[in-house]
Each structure stands twice: as C-alpha cells, then as structure tokens.
C-alpha cells in the first residue's frame, strides 16, 4: 500500500467522508489537521497551489483535491 496523507480540517464535512471512505477500505493514512498545524497548511498549499480541503496525497500520484471517490479508487486500486 502506498503512503497516503490527508490534509483536512475538523469541521469540513467532505473531509470526514473522505476519511470514512479510507477507513472502510482499510487504507492507512496520516491525517494532517491544517487548522492547527501551520507547517502542514503551508505544505498543502505548496503541493497543490490552493486552499481547499480535503486534499489526499497518494504516493506516486498527483494530489487529489476534494473527495473524488473515483480518482481515489483508481489511484489506490480499490
């Protein structure tokens, strides 16, 4: 399984859905809360050039912005 990082905020409903989806599919991921973690916030902006959450970074793939279930499914071969 590739390394998976999720950039999210605790109040963002689509972030919850994305994380639920990963959990349901037994995908391990690191969750970075960009509302608290300034370093993670800058890292996300640098990687994606934008400030919308959620963002999921799957090793070997371009970052996926928003909860794009199909793109995530493809990238993780689910």
């Amino acid at each position: 399984m590739p390394n998976v990082t999720v950039y999210s905020t605790p109040t963002c409903p689509w972030c919850h859905r994305l994380k639920d989806y990963l959990k349901k599919n037994n995908v391990e991921f690191e969750d970075k809360d960009v509302s608290m973690d300034d370093v993670a916030r800058d890292e996300m902006v640098e990687k994606t050039g934008q400030m919308g959450v959620p963002v999921i970074v799957i090793e070997g793939h371009d970052p996926i912005i928003g909860f794009d279930q199909e793109a995530i499914k493809d990238a993780l071969n689910l």
């Binding site: 109040t11 689509w14 509302s35 050039g49 400030m51 919308g52 959450v53 279930q69 199909e70």
Partner: protein
C-alpha cells in the same frame, strides 16, 4: 446491466427515491456526483421527525444504508449527457451509455456564483463557498463575506473566530439575518459591514489579494483582502434536465406536478432541492423522492404499486 430507471443525484432525496424503487423491485441505478449531497454540510438537524437531533451526515448515512438494503446500484460520478430517443432515454455516464424508461432528477443545488472576473481563476485560491470547510486557512488574515442573508451572517460569525477582520459586503442596505444573529454580528468587533455595494472583480497573483467594488469604501474602490467567501445562496443544478427540454422556472428549478413529481417530459421526474417545491427541508426532499419513485413505478408498470403488508405502508 439493464436498468429500468436512473436516479441522478447523490443526496437524501435521490437515496429516498432509491429506497422505494428498490422496494418496487425496479432495476435502479443511482449516479451522484457528490454522494451525500448538501445535507452533510449541516452539523445538526432538529426538525426531521423521528430524530430529535441528528447530524446531516448521520441522517444521510442512515438513508443510504436503507437504500442499499435493496438491490439497487449506487455509483459516484458525473452524468455527462441525457438524450431522449423515442420512448426511452440514453444516459451517458462514466464512459457507458444506459438505456432507461424513466429518469428521476434529484440533482440538488450548487453554490451560487458571483459571476465576476477572477472568481473562477481564484477558486480555492482565495475564493471559497464553505466557511466551515476552508475558514481555517485564514487565521489572522482579512477576509470578505459576500451576501446579506442569515447564512451569510452566520458564515461571517464563524469566520470571525479565526480571522483578524471580516468585511461583509452586501448589495442592499440591511442584513436579512435572524435578530439574534444580527445582534451578534453588530456587536462583533472583528466584523465590519459594507452596505449597498457590489463586488465587481477579484484580483491577485497566485492567490487573492484584493477585490474591486462598485463604490468606494473609506475612499477606495479597492479593498485589500486575503480571501473572499461567497454566500449568496444556492442555484439548482438543472442544465442536463434542460438539455432534454424539461421545463424550469425563473430560478432554474424544475417545474413539477406536486402530486407525482412529474415534469413536462413523459418519463422524467424531479425531486428535492432541484424541484420547484417551495418548502425546502430534508423531510420534504425525502418525501419528494418517495413520490417520484412511486410515479416511476406507475409509469413503467402502468399500474399502482402494491405494497406487501401493513408494516410496509
């Protein structure tokens, strides 16, 4: 797979229609771009009978689970095109073409856009539509909220917890918020209201750094901002329905018969927030889905559905 009907949409109205289509044993495909719909943006619902308090996400999950009890298919994705061919419809989605006898549009609504230069270019780069989602990026920054409704005022209050300064920019002279909300806005030291003013352009380099207004505020039409939250309501997603000549009203809502959810096109039904029902609530969206499903059954089978026992009714 051959389907009888396709439900376009991924919210509670679509999934409620799916519960009934499933029970009627119609071969049903639900295609939704956003599985969950707008209800999941609501933190707490207290007016859905049977639940004193439930989050939008939990309510959606319960309805989805219920729908999946039946033999229906649910997929995430976008419907690209719908074409009417004789007495059936061709629905193109996910590189496949489905032939169905009936369609239910439960496509919901999207954020209404300002439609000014820079809005598209800076989407998620300073222009946002969901304070709950993206507000956290503006800690100690100056931001604007466009709009004067109760929800715009609530967005401004929410954002004022993170940011240094919130400007509410509203085209009219009075904020239309619930009195208690309005009082909180007026007493909030971080919030300033700019009345009778329109945003005409959003400017920046990589990210937003200012907006242009149609009237000067404190001597300048340009206002330095790090972000702009647009809260001017929602707009129905009815373009695909319109492409097969489904009639809509001035707001773009699909015109439906209130007893059946039927549109002007035979075999096409609509429900939920995209339909022209006046009282838009979670419970009415659910009811609309159920009514549309019942009509689809009657249309396809040319008969009234018969439900099994009293516990089913």
């Amino acid at each position: 797979m051959q389907y009888d009907t396709i439900i376009i949409g991924g919210g509670i109205s679509a999934l409620s229609a799916a519960v009934y289509c499933g029970r009627f044993q119609l071969k049903t495909l639900v295609i939704g771009e956003k599985i969950g719909g707008n209800i999941i943006l609501t933190e707490s619902i207290s007016n859905y009978p049977g639940f004193k308090k439930i989050s939008g996400m939990d309510l959606f999950d319960k309805i989805k689970e219920h729908a999946l009890e039946y033999k229906i298919d649910l997929v995430g994705g976008k419907v690209d095109k719908v074409k009417k061919v004789n007495d059936y419809f061709e629905v193109s989605a996910k590189e496949k073409v489905y032939k169905v006898k009936a369609i239910i549009f439960a496509t919901g609504t999207d954020w209404r856009k300002l439609d000014v230069p820079g809005e598209k270019k800076f989407a998620n780069k300073g222009v946002h539509y969901c304070a709950l989602c993206d507000g956290a990026f503006y800690k100690n920054k100056a931001i604007g909220v466009v709009g004067g409704s109760d929800s715009a005022a609530k967005e401004a209050l929410l954002l004022s917890e993170y940011v240094k300064k919130v400007y509410i920019i509203y085209r009219k002279g009075r904020i239309r918020a619930e009195p208690i909300i309005l009082k909180r806005v007026q007493e909030n030291q971080n919030i300033e209201i700019i009345y009778d003013t329109n945003v005409v352009e959003i400017k920046g380099n990589k990210f937003v750094n200012s907006i242009m207004m149609d009237k000067p505020y404190r001597g300048s039409k340009e206002l330095k901002l790090d972000g702009l939250f647009v809260a001017i309501g929602r707009t129905p997603i009815s373009d695909i329905a319109k492409s097969i000549a489904v009639r809509t009203n001035k707001k773009g809502e699909i015109i439906t018969d209130k007893n059946t959810g039927a549109t002007n096109i035979k075999g096409v039904y609509a429900c939920g927030d995209v339909a022209d029902n006046k009282f838009k609530q979670a419970i009415t969206a659910v009811a609309g889905g159920v009514i549309a499903a019942n009509s689809v059954y009657r249309f396809i089978k040319n008969e009234m559905p018969v439900l099994g026992s009293s516990e089913d009714s």
